[in-house]
Amino acid sequence: MLRKIFVAAVFVIGAAQPLLADNAVDPQADFKAFREYFTKRFPKVQLNDFVNGPYSMDEGLRKQWQQIEEFPPYEFAVEHGKEAFAKPFKNGKTLGDCFPNKGVGIRQNYPYFDTKSGEVITLELALNQCLEANGEKPLSYTSQDMAALTAYMAFTSRGKPFDIKIPNDPRALAAYRSGEEYFYTRRGQLNFSCASCHVQNPGGHIRTEVLAPALGILNAMPIYRSAWENMGTITRRFQTCNSQVRGVPLPGQDVLYRNVEYYLSYMGNGLPISGPGARP
């Protein structure tokens, strides 16, 4: 127990301190420390298995998962997303027209930093921007329709390693830093940071839920959760985690959520996309 807390302390403080000490943002150094922390703490977990979230931490859960995957509960979402991608807008264009390679096999490149707007563009945001640019109604970021689109895009990108780039642009580095800070800052009446659960306590049980490690935590998104009986987008998951600690969730695709996604996805670089996922 003590050792566990100590190791977490070294990592969390180690990661946060340089930020305060000087202003240099060094994503590469963060990336190395982050990966080392998880691989040292869980030497038996294969690197590519971290993307399987709670299953990488718990043998019993893994067995259940193998059964779930015999009839993947997210299959309908992938199908629905595929159809939605092909269906013409009123103007005759399609969602595929907004994306490189018609949106197939590109999920690993999101989020990216858009040097024109100076902001992080996530997949969920890009999908709504596409709809709006074509005179269509944007989707709720927590809707089943949105989850279907990202499920389809993830499915066609399975096995491709996350390839998130941080251009040498002070605005991109600032977005990354802001996401990192959000991730390690405690909030809510229960006083948790994202890292309290997903860095300090991966594999730990909160009631009966097994906490996923922060390494590769976005690779499986979106997820079908049996507890929800439907799909959850990244937005929905972030908002749920905020609510669980009696914090105030941010609006969907708030710039801070996009920055957190940027930070976490960059930390997942090199690990394969495994979405859509199925969770208990």
């Binding site: 127990m1 009446q189 006083n191 659960c197 306590n201 049980h205 909160i206 009631r207």
Partner: protein, 119 residues
Amino acid sequence: MELRQSHLVLAAVASGLIGAAVLGWSAASAAPADGQKLAFDRGKGNCLTCHEIKDGPAPGNLGPALNDMKARFPDRKELIAIISDETKRNALTVMPPFKRNLILNDKEIEEIVDFLYTL
């Protein structure tokens, strides 16, 4: 403790319910069952999220099992301090600061400690 009691009495006087309030208070402090309720209630202590506790369903394990409390924590003040704000002892703990963040008041914390001493 005394402050707490006189607060209650004041409140009771204000609402004209002296007898009921005082009785209510003394009954509560004598009944660890209320402490158990507070400890298990998801909207209150929700201690089971992280601690195994006798008779508690579906406990988590981020913290140690809560047992043998009298032997391990003979000083009541220590337990009160841990529940009130464990970050004072351990800045990195994930245990919520129940008093500082107004999740539990002094009376509720006392009741939970009464319950812990039955474990």
